[in-house]
């Protein structure tokens, strides 16, 4: 089960250079400076941690930490 710390650790591992601690759980990634390639990198890290493959169709909805938590808890 992923928690917020796991997702922020994955962001760091993904080389995301924005201030990760400033991103609220429901803050949209794009509004906090993450671009599409940051999200691709983050999803690779999360796939690695969880072993769960994320289909392309699900990616547009994974736009904040809360959405990722809900997705991986489902």
């Amino acid at each position: 089960m992923l928690n917020v710390s796991d997702i922020k650790a994955a962001m760091k591992a993904a080389g995301i250079s924005v201030d990760i601690d400033a991103i609220p759980v429901d803050g949209k990634f794009r509004e906090y400076g993450l671009d599409s390639l940051d999200v691709f990198n983050l999803l690779i890290e999360l796939q690695d941690v969880t072993g769960r493959e994320i289909p392309d169709a699900d990616v547009p909805n994974l736009d904040c930490i809360a959405a990722l938590l809900a997705y991986f808890q489902a």
Partner: protein, 312 residues
């Protein structure tokens, strides 16, 4: 006899697209274009230039740059392209032979590969020279994606530039072709293909492929060669985008700074990206070992170790 790389030259069209301006048109900021795409300029061939013209210009550049290269003594010419003249029939290498007045005794053929094509081409040429006893080979890369990129397509329009390179391969070369490994996964074919003559790319799948496949493949070649990552002076991998180079390099920890990123003035030039790096950074360096790794269309990938031949 050591078969390897003797010299490299290139041709980059002088006409270009300003990628910052193009990024603005696609609502992308400068930070994204510089930091993630990595290209400020995308060279574009003139409409009246064809693939063989780019290839011939690269061969001419080699003639002018390397006095010891004699085109009349060439035995083999390979052109790596998937966007040859016309519809690819006849093969572009035959057209280059004619345009450059190369010997009619030449063995000339095309290799149909994208971004892995340079590494494949080196070893195809090495094998051909070994099998035939011929001595002088020329590996040309010329794959102008401007022929197939739709300028309104944000995914591909910001990435690709046109260029051509010519690599002289033969005996007694300063750079020996060492351990190598190849790979193919046709399940990725649909993610980077030309549909109806227009390039179509699933950016996420191509990125995932590169980010996940290339680093372990480089480690595999290092292992085959009995080398640790720090025993390699530089890593010249395909310049797919700055983000791709960074994603691969990051997996090498404190060796990541040895991954060369140099695509600001060219963009992703497909099979030309690795020889452009070698020409600019490696050939006249004091490096002793270089890893080259190409990956892309297919999916197809190839990684090799280049080693400087020590003179006795």
């Amino acid at each position: 006899m050591t078969i390897g790389i003797k010299a490299i030259a290139s041709y980059i069209p002088s006409t270009y697209i300003d990628n910052l301006e193009q990024g603005t048109a696609f609502s992308e900021n400068e930070s994204f274009i510089r930091g993630k795409i990595g290209a400020l300029k995308l060279p574009i061939k003139n409409p009246d230039e064809d693939t063989s013209d780019l290839a011939a210009a690269a061969v001419q550049a080699l003639i002018e740059k390397e006095p010891s290269f004699n085109p009349n003594s060439l035995d083999v010419l390979i052109v790596v392209t998937q966007n040859g003249d016309g519809r690819g029939l006849p093969h572009t290498s035959a057209i280059v032979q004619q345009k450059m007045g190369l010997p009619k005794t030449l063995a000339a053929f095309d290799v149909s590969l994208g971004c892995s094509g340079y590494v494949y081409g080196l070893y195809v040429l090495k094998g051909f020279l070994q099998a035939t006893g011929l001595r002088n080979g020329l590996l040309v890369t010329a794959d102008p994606y401007s022929k197939i990129v739709e300028r309104s397509d944000r995914v591909t329009s910001l990435l690709f530039g046109d260029a051509a390179t010519a690599t002289w391969v033969g005996h007694d070369a300063p750079w020996r072709l060492g351990e190598v490994s190849f790979g193919t996964d046709g399940e990725g074919a649909e993610h980077l293909c030309a549909d109806g003559g227009k390039l179509n790319m699933n950016g996420r799948q191509v990125f995932n492929f590169a980010a996940l496949k290339v680093a372990p493949h480089i480690q595999h070649v290092l292992s085959k060669a009995g080398l640790a990552a720090e025993q390699v002076d530089a890593y010249c991998i395909h310049q797919g985008s700055a983000a791709i180079v960074d994603a691969v390099a990051r997996r090498f920890g404190n060796m990541s700074s040895r991954f060369i990123l140099d695509m600001e003035q060219t963009g992703n030039t497909v099979s030309s990206s690795i020889p452009l790096l070698l020409e600019a950074h490696a050939i006249r360096s004091d490096w002793k070992r270089i890893i080259v790794s190409g990956f892309g269309v297919g999916f197809s990938w190839a990684t090799a170790l280049l080693e400087r031949e020590e003179k006795c």
